[in-house]
């Protein structure tokens, strides 16, 4: 199946250097038409050969076609023309002629037949495009194509690869291609490859070594095994780091979810069961922003940080004024009332927006992962969330410790009457505190929109966990919340591999329940007569 790559590369190398790419076929009888014709067959094998043919034809539209085919946009109209669909949403699609590239306006999906492909062909296409790109002027393309060729090399390509490796002026490309070659050699039980790969952490390389290890040549097999063993320790270490990272990232999510609660519950003593729904609102704000700014998910996301805070804070104020202020000093009643509010907010979203989940796009710069080494890479979106969590925490700390508001809040919570007497407007403080807590919940929602569903139930999935974190950390203590959140996250992730996700969660819950028995006031309790309540 891979043989075509050899021809592809060969003619590419012989055919043209990056600059001299223009060799249009003679006008009139367009050979391209014939080429595309061969694509419109049922059997995927024939399609595969057709693709090979296209690659070998040094037609400069080849890459376009391959790309369109890969994206499933290369289709055939009832009138037999081959077209490229520009946008396949809705019932009628704008198309352009695949050969001439002229726009043909809209066509109904009923009169179009897509040229279907499957994963095998998708692979083939990717590799083909990669090969084409190997000598593209754009260095990024060359690099990605080099990455792409890891494990895709075959006998023929291997030979032709050698000169390319030598000529490659970009050493990343050179190194990758070298690896690709080594992988090929190792898989065919060549010592050279095994040696070249020993010490490499790259999964693909280990796949190759694994194969070599099960090869018939005992010497090579041993060498391969040795090579695998040599990185075992290193891998374990990486795995440990990975688990820790997982734990911390889960932890930071918990912290984000709980920190707002730590304000409203811990500082004000208000049990806000609608906290989760405030998070939900934050998430929906993100979605809204992305609807308002189509095509710029990144910008929308950044903007929705203040927006989410604002929306949640306003709703929070409404809740405080509308309900909580009437329930002063009756925490359990507040619990019930706010629970009612949470139900209302959920149903509101269901009826106003939709019971279905909403799509929140992850911006480019947040998707994918940060490669530490070939075995360890940290997923970017979670990295951002972690940073965000710390940022929010720091900001809150600042507000509570350094600002007038923080001072007043602490004064009011310690001795309302006294604070009043000193001219602090307690009601105002209540409003602001609650708004702050709610706003933070909104921020958490914005972050969550990048990790999980944006739907009416988003809040419910986090409310219990957040309460656990706050109680575990010690009510009224932001540091406690931070420590509790992170440690619970890590515990959970460490348990998960051997206990399984469900059991891990249960164990953590039971652990907290027992812990509260031992230390009713959490990790960092408030002491003194004031706290004896």
């Amino acid at each position: 199946m891979r043989r075509f790559l050899f021809w592809a590369l060969l003619c590419l190398l012989a055919g043209f250097l990056p600059s001299a790419a223009a060799q249009t076929a003679a006008p009139g009888s367009d050979p391209g038409a014939a080429l595309l014709e061969t694509l419109d067959v049922d059997s995927y094998r024939d399609k595969g050969e057709a693709i090979t043919a296209i690659v070998q034809s040094d037609d400069e539209r080849a890459r376009e076609w391959l790309q369109a085919l890969l994206d499933g946009r290369l289709q055939r109209a009832d009138d037999g023309r081959f077209v490229v669909v520009l946008d396949n949403a809705g019932r009628n699609w704008p198309v352009e002629d695949a050969l001439t590239g002229e726009a043909l306006g809209e066509m109904s999906r009923r009169e179009l037949d897509r040229i279907g492909i499957n994963n095998a062909l998708r692979n083939q296409l990717r590799s083909a495009i990669a090969v084409v790109d190997l000598i593209s002027p754009d260095v990024e393309r060359r690099r990605s194509s080099a990455d792409r060729l890891l494990g895709e090399v075959d006998e023929a390509l291997a030979e032709t690869l050698v000169p390319v490796i030598e000529e490659a002026e970009d050493d990343y490309v050179r190194r990758r291609l070298g690896q690709a070659l080594a992988i090929y050699q190792a898989e065919n039980g060549e010592m050279a490859g095994v040696e070249a790969l020993s010490g490499s952490l790259h999964p693909r390389a280990r796949v190759a070594l694994n194969r070599a290890a099960s090869g018939d040549d005992p010497v090579v097999a041993d060498a391969a095994r040795a090579a695998l063993a040599s990185v075992e320790q290193n891998l374990k270490l990486n795995r440990g780091v990975e688990t820790l990272y997982f734990g911390l990232s889960l932890g930071s999510v918990l912290v984000l979810a709980a920190i707002g609660l730590a304000i409203t519950f811990g500082v004000m003593g208000v049990i806000n069961m609608a906290h989760g729904e405030l998070m939900m609102l934050g998430a929906y704000t993100t979605w809204m922003m992305q609807q308002l700014l189509p095509g710029q998910p990144g910008l929308a996301l950044v903007l929705s940080i203040p927006a989410g805070f604002l929306v949640a804070a306003l709703v929070g104020i409404a809740i405080e004024r509308g309900v909580i202020q009437f329930l002063k000093g009756r925490p359990l009643e507040t619990l019930l009332a706010t629970f009612g509010i949470s139900l209302i907010l959920q149903q509101l979203v269901r009826t106003v927006i939709s019971p279905l989940n909403r799509t929140v796009i992850t911006p480019e710069w947040m998707s994918g992962s940060l490669v530490i080494n070939d075995a360890l890479s940290l997923t970017l979106n979670r990295l951002y969330v972690m940073g965000f969590a710390l940022f929010v925490f720091a900001a809150l700390m600042l507000v509570m410790r350094r600002t007038r508001l923080g001072l007043e809040v602490r004064a009011v919570t310690q001795n309302r009457a006294m604070a009043r007497a000193m001219g602090i407007r307690a009601t105002r403080v209540d409003i602001l505190t609650f708004a702050l807590g709610s706003g933070v919940a909104g921020l958490a929602g914005v972050a969550l929109s990048q990790l999980t569903n944006v739907g009416p139930n988003l809040g419910q999935n986090y409310i219990i966990d957040s309460f656990m974190v706050v109680v575990f950390g010690g009510v009224g203590n932001l540091w406690g919340t931070l420590v509790a959140g992170l440690s619970l996250g890590v515990i959970n992730q460490v348990l998960e591999p051997w206990a399984g996700a469900v059991l891990a969660k249960i164990i953590v819950l039971v652990f907290i329940i027992l812990f509260i028995q031992k230390r009713p006031r959490g990790l960092f309790p408030q002491k003194g007569r004031a706290a004896e309540g």
Partner: protein, 447 residues
Amino acid sequence: MAKSTRTVLSSRLVSTAVAAALMGSGAHAVAQENDPIKVGILHSLSGTMAISESTLKDTVEMLIEQQNEAGGLLGRDLEAVVVDPASNWPLFAERARELLEQEEVDVIFGNWTSVSRKAVLPVVEELNGLLFYPVQYEGEESSENVFYTGAAPNQQAIPAVEYLINDVGIERFALVGTDYVYPRTTNRILEAFLKDEHGVADEDIMVNYTPFGHSDWQNIVSEIRRFGEAGKPTAVVSTINGDANVPFYRELANQGIDAADIPVIAFSVGEQELSGIDTGPLVGHLAAWNYFMSVDTDENYDFIDAWIDWTGDEEAVTNDPMEAHYIGFNMWAEAVRKAGTTDVDAIKEAIIGVTVPNLSGGYAAMMPNHHITKPVLIGEVQDNGQFDIVWQTPSTVAGDAWSDYLPGSRDLIADWRKPMACGNFNVVNGSCGGSTAAEEAEAALAE
């Protein structure tokens, strides 16, 4: 919403008010010949399942209206009786009882989750009603009063895995699912199937279960990643349910697993689920269904257009359970015509063998085991939230109530035709009612 429904609701409002006054004595009217035929719809319109089920309710209402426009059935109009079990399983049983006892409906279309079906089952059997169940499920059941228009495992899971093995050349399988009965059973069937039929080794099968709405997939995905590094082509067979899917696919994408390396084939991810996902990173992942919105037939396009007009939403999507209802409804209507009455027992007789067109250009027939014949399609996710059909069974597959790969049910069959009329006939000891497991156990006890 169809006006017929509205009137019903208001009338129910009155009757319930009366009920309130008289401690709930529901007033009955004995069904007259010219009264409308009552079609009960038992789908959650609120609560967690509303996401999936509310569209099915709309579907049935649409079908009913279409039927009425076409002159109804037996010269009588159809009338939708909608109730909301609110995603609460005991409430499902209660509502079913209400439909059959209070509203005296002639047929019920409803349920999504297995548990809700299990809750309703005894009621439907006790009151001898008709239930059409439109969702793919774990099988291991055949009730005289229930018609399973969704896929049984052998109509979805097994062909899908065969496709992976034969066409994609997969040798290593990660069976990942939500921890409830459908994934459990499906995965057990698949395990048995892979080992017995294809000699897949134990270490090449990984099974993992997660709770509902699981949102933190980091560990499991990295486990899958490592599982895939053993040097054999690997695939994930996903029976992950509903909300848990978004974070799962997100994590896959972020950890750099794309369909080309480790394809995921899902049994519970359809067009509707995709409509809530950023499909960019999913492209190339697979799903196995008996219908896709992208099926290229005129019946399908007509259905889609009708649906879009009914909902008034250009973006509205159709999915497999909707087709199941489409088929089930037409089968029932056909059976009513054939029997010339809506009497339950008559229909049960008449409907077996009824054949109606499905939306993928073929025909669906009601089998004696109350399951239907379906084609199996494999689709690859595209960036526009649709599936590109890459494979399809040459002919339709008949639903199998009892799996051939589970020891308990290997020798059970269901056949509701007289004289057998048995949902769990044991072909070994030729008796109705249970597997040889019974005798084995008795033997064990005897010792």
